[in-house]
């Protein structure tokens, strides 16, 4: 099996965008191609394009995005396909790019992910379409509803508090202030969102016990990476970051059917597979991008990925172990909470943050000497998870 690396990255600023969906994808794609030193047009080296999006056909009334983008970028006659796997679409698309190169079918693959989410109740409803079409979605249940019910279980079982979740939000907002592509580049204090006089106004309940700062914002945005076979990596402008391991696992579609309702089993299994493939362990990771669509997820994923014993992640947060400079910095990008969460882009965006850390290009938020990092891209409410381990070559 051929080894695969990343030689180009591109990332639009997350947040509200007036660009049409395809232009948003194109902006990230061109930045990634330029970063890798790939010329478009006749003689280009891109064999395959993957486009990841959860809802372009629902929210933007666009299907066949990959066919449109490959032509617009002047990358014909490269192969082109769309990938839809809920909020894990980006991680899945990178996995498929990896497989295309590792199999020997391709030398160079462009992976682009993006979303234009819309806003308000309609966007909330669109995201909820990933839930079970009979046993969950029709009730008005949403991803936030399940995160809230999951949070209550974790609080009761392990003694996690609302303040612990707020600490994660404070950390991620602080990190996002140093990330020029983050949506919410503004710090927030623990007092302001927990006990301050304006707390109810700043941080109102969303789905009890969750409040606004326990939940990621709605975002538009796109992200892109160029993958290549490591044996031809010297043809590109940038030194490759190695994709050392990829793992993916699924769990019950219905959250109520989980054997242990406080576990995120697919996160554990996907991470373990990725570590095994890389020949590394959680202890070898210098940083991690975890899918904190809800702050409770960063906490429990940090345990399932092996950074803390079960039920101890909140102690690590209280001790500052997940901050930059701590034992295992998590979500140096600002995470989904503050960097933003355009669903189809998120898995790729996470990978780009670790690439920047391993290149030493994460100015203001750099983890000194980072050599390896983990990304966890979480689909559904944990029913389909992709984990990726990247290493500095």
């Amino acid at each position: 099996m051929r080894e695969v690396g990343i030689v180009g990255v591109g990332h639009t600023k997350f947040g509200k965008s007036d660009l049409p969906f395809l232009d948003l994808l194109g902006a990230a794609a061109l930045e990634a191609l330029d970063d890798a030193g790939i010329k478009t047009g006749e003689g280009h080296c891109v064999d395959q394009l993957f486009v990841s999006s959860m809802g372009a056909s629902i929210q933007n009334r666009i299907s066949g995005s990959a066919s449109a983008l490959v032509d617009s970028l002047n990358l014909r006659p490269a192969m082109a396909e769309c990938v839809e796997n809920g909020p894990a679409s980006g991680g899945s698309a990178v996995k498929l790019g990896y497989m295309a190169i590792a199999s020997g079918m391709c030398d160079c693959v462009l992976v682009v992910g993006g979303e234009k989410m819309g806003k308000g109740k309609e966007a909330t409803d669109f995201v909820a379409t990933m839930l079970h079409p009979e046993a969950e979605y029709p009730y008005g249940l949403t991803l936030t509803s399940f995160a809230a019910m999951f949070t209550r279980l974790i609080m009761d079982k392990y003694g996690v508090t609302s303040e612990d979740l707020a600490r994660i939000a404070v950390k991620n907002h602080a990190n996002a202030c140093h990330n020029p592509v983050a949506q919410l580049q503004k710090p927030v204090s623990l007092e302001a969102i927990t006990t301050g006089p304006d707390m109810e106004k700043i941080n109102p309940p969303v789905a009890e016990p969750l409040r606004r700062y326990d939940v990621c914002p709605m975002s538009d945005g796109a992200a892109a990476v160029v993958l290549c076979a490591m044996d031809i990596a010297d043809k590109f402008k940038r030194r490759p970051v190695r994709i050392a391991g990829i793992g993916q696992a699924t769990d019950t579609h219905c959250v109520a059917n989980r054997a242990v309702p406080t576990d995120l089993l697919a996160v554990r299994l996907a991470s373990q597979k990725a570590y095994k493939m890389a020949g590394l362990t959680a202890d070898d990771m210098d940083c991690a991008e975890l899918h904190d669509a809800f702050q409770i997820l960063e906490l429990v994923e940090s345990e399932e990925a092996g950074f803390f014993p079960r039920g101890q992640g909140h102690i690590g947060i209280r001790n500052g172990e997940t901050e930059i400079g701590g034992r295992i910095p998590i979500n140096t990008s600002g995470g989904l909470k503050a960097k933003g969460h355009p669903l189809g882009a998120t898995g790729i965006s996470q990978i780009i943050e670790v690439v920047k850390q391993l290149r030493g290009e994460a100015a203001g938020r750099q983890v000194e000497g980072a050599k390896a990092g983990l990304c966890v891209n979480f689909g559904g409410f944990g029913n389909n998870v992709v984990a990726t381990v990247l290493t500095k070559d």
Partner: protein, 109 residues
């Protein structure tokens, strides 16, 4: 509202499945789920999706006395707490494109 009992091993499921996750059986019998259960967790949601015309709505996950766990809406006045006994009723949970969808609405037992 129904549970789906595997004809081969007897495990009760909700919602319906193609293959039993205990014994690989593929045939099921329908069984009405209208009894009591225990509330495992719950939430009061303030940011409801389009199509739900209420300011707030309560949801929960309930373990039915038959053992199967299901999600549903709650219609409970007063305190809601983990471990409380509830009873399953069936009602309209949402109207989508003019079609009424029915589901579990749990009330205090």
């Amino acid at each position: 509202m129904y549970g789906y009992r595997c004809k081969k091993c007897g495990k009760l499921h909700h919602p319906a499945r193609l293959v039993c996750d205990k014994c690989e059986g593929r045939e099921f019998t329908e069984e009405i789920l209208d009894g009591e259960g225990t509330l495992l967790t719950y939430t009061r949601v303030h940011n409801l999706p389009a199509g739900i015309d209420k300011p707030v709505l309560d949801f929960g996950i309930v373990q039915m006395r038959e053992g199967v766990c299901v999600s549903g809406q709650l219609d409970i006045d007063g305190e809601i707490y983990t471990g409380m006994k509830v009873r399953a009723t069936e009602g309209v949970v949402r109207v989508m494109n003019g079609v009424e969808h029915t589901g579990f609405i749990f009330v205090k037992a």
